[in-house]
């Protein structure tokens, strides 16, 4: 099924999305990769406020290329998500709504998504020039010293993603493969 997800992003809006659904996301999302996740979790451990409100947030695992003059961002496809597995359950328990990346997640992440009513979606790895066209504005809001890994606030229009882990334990990587292998 194809859906549009627009602001305000709520748990209610993602609850009925199922593994395999294609979703076009429009609104404000945040970027963070390995180094930023580590810093955000460390801030939370110290009782400090993270650089953006984690509750109902969408985090895109991406380290874009530098923007060419006249463009809001450079190429911006997903990075491999398992490197964020160590940190993701903490953010999901703090209310994060959606993770966007690519590739397999740990059982802990899948369980944290399920118990919190959150979802994991995949963007198309390697289709980074195409996805950059969905980014209408980008602003570094934390950790500028991390360069490509800094936390950015993005406004995206119709960013195409596919639900991989849903709120009922569905997993596209397992279901998609077995559906193909059992085709008649």
């Amino acid at each position: 099924m194809e859906y549009r997800l627009t602001e305000p992003f709520t748990k209610e809006a993602v609850r009925n999305l199922r593994a395999g659904d294609q979703v076009l996301v429009t609104g404000t999302i945040y970027t963070a990769r390995d180094a930023a996740h580590k810093k955000i979790v460390e801030m939370m451990d110290r009782g400090e406020k993270p650089p953006f409100d984690i509750a109902d947030s969408i985090i895109y695992y991406v380290g874009p290329t530098p923007a060419k003059p006249g463009n809001p961002i450079g190429s911006a496809g997903p990075t491999t998500s398992y490197r964020m597995d160590a940190y993701a359950p903490r953010l999901l328990d703090a209310g994060q709504l959606m993770m966007i990346g690519k590739g397999q997640r740990s059982a802990e992440v899948a369980e944290a998504a399920r118990r919190n009513g959150a979802v994991y979606a995949a963007a198309i790895g390697g289709a980074a020039a195409l996805m950059a066209q969905c980014v209408k504005s980008a602003e570094v809001i934390a950790f500028p010293e991390l360069g490509a890994e800094a936390v950015r606030r993005l406004y995206v229009e119709d960013l195409p993603v596919t639900i991989v882990l849903d709120t009922e334990g569905g997993n596209l990587y397992e279901e998609g493969r077995s559906a193909y292998l059992q085709r008649t």
Binding site: G20, A35, T65, P66, A122, I124, A129, R177, Y180
Partner: protein, 280 residues
């Protein structure tokens, strides 16, 4: 002796870094198209169409195909009748990478130390593989290598008794373990033989082979075909969403080895199979 100023190498490396990151060569585009035509699973076809569209957008706008513009893997075949002047080869190559990645708005993805992890800020140092060859020419190949796929690569020191079957089983198991992570459809570079370090280089060099060719040795050409068939029966499919097209191509490179050994390396590349060459 032919004299060649290393600034020519710097300029060539800089422009190859940009070209390789913006444009897939014709063989890679042709291979993707052919595999997309063979694909009969709807979700897989949809992913392959997006990948094709991305190639067009990147080429037209001169944008990087992928945001991971890679570690700059550079292969130089230096004719032994060439006398390099004006500086060292290594400095010239790194200056080319620095310029290409800065002027070309490419991502700087190299950290100076594997554990202290401070970014060098200019994507240097390059991974330089130098080979002395006959003649008075210099061939430079730049192959930016992303780490989503690099991280899924594997090496195994098999016993000779494992034979071809053991090699093939290991290659297929590495691809299956990688699953959705390396951005399938992938290109599989396989090294067989040599020793522990040589076999990994063979696997990486196998990724430089054009995607429309076949192994010149019929024994290994058949193995490449057999492996591609087995891999594309795994069902992982483009991006791991299910489908036939898990791999675009398997390329094998071999070297003599020790009587006690059968080293095998699997270097995985994503569908953004980037490399560009020039001869000076």
């Amino acid at each position: 002796m032919r004299e060649l100023n290393v600034t020519e190498i710097t300029e060539a490396v800089a422009s190859l870094c940009i070209e390789a990151n913006h444009h897939l060569d014709e063989a890679a585009r042709g291979c993707l198209k052919a595999r997309a035509e063979e694909e009969d699973w709807a979700p897989a076809k949809a992913v392959l169409a997006i990948i094709e569209k991305n190639i067009g957008i990147a080429a037209e706008g001169e944008f990087p195909l992928c945001q991971d513009t890679g570690m700059a893997c550079i292969f130089i075949e230096l004719g032994q009748e060439v006398h390099l002047t004006g500086g060292t080869l290594e400095d010239a190559v790194n200056e080319g990478v620095r310029r290409g990645y800065t002027e070309g708005y490419l991502r700087k993805s190299i950290v100076a130390d594997p554990l202290r992890r401070e970014n060098t800020g200019d994507n240097t140092p390059a991974d330089l593989v130098l080979r002395l060859v006959p003649g008075d020419r210099v061939k430079i190949t730049v192959a930016p290598k992303g780490f989503g796929s690099e991280n899924m690569s594997q090496i195994r020191m098999l016993p000779p008794s494992a034979g071809a079957q053991g090699v093939e089983d290991f290659v297929v198991s590495a691809v299956e373990a990688a699953g959705a992570n390396p951005c399938p459809p992938i290109v599989v570079g396989v090294g067989i033989g040599g020793n522990f370090n040589r076999v990994a280089l063979l696997a990486k060099e196998a990724l430089l082979e054009p995607l429309d060719g076949a192994n010149p040795d019929p024994f290994y050409a058949e193995m490449e075909e057999r492996l591609l068939k087995r891999i594309n029966e795994l069902g992982i499919g483009p991006q791991g969403f299910g489908g036939r097209t898990t791999a675009l191509k398997v390329n094998i490179r071999t070297a003599p080895t020790h009587i006690a050994g059968l080293p095998v390396a699997v270097n995985i590349n994503c569908h953004v199979s980037r490399h560009a060459s020039v001869v000076l």
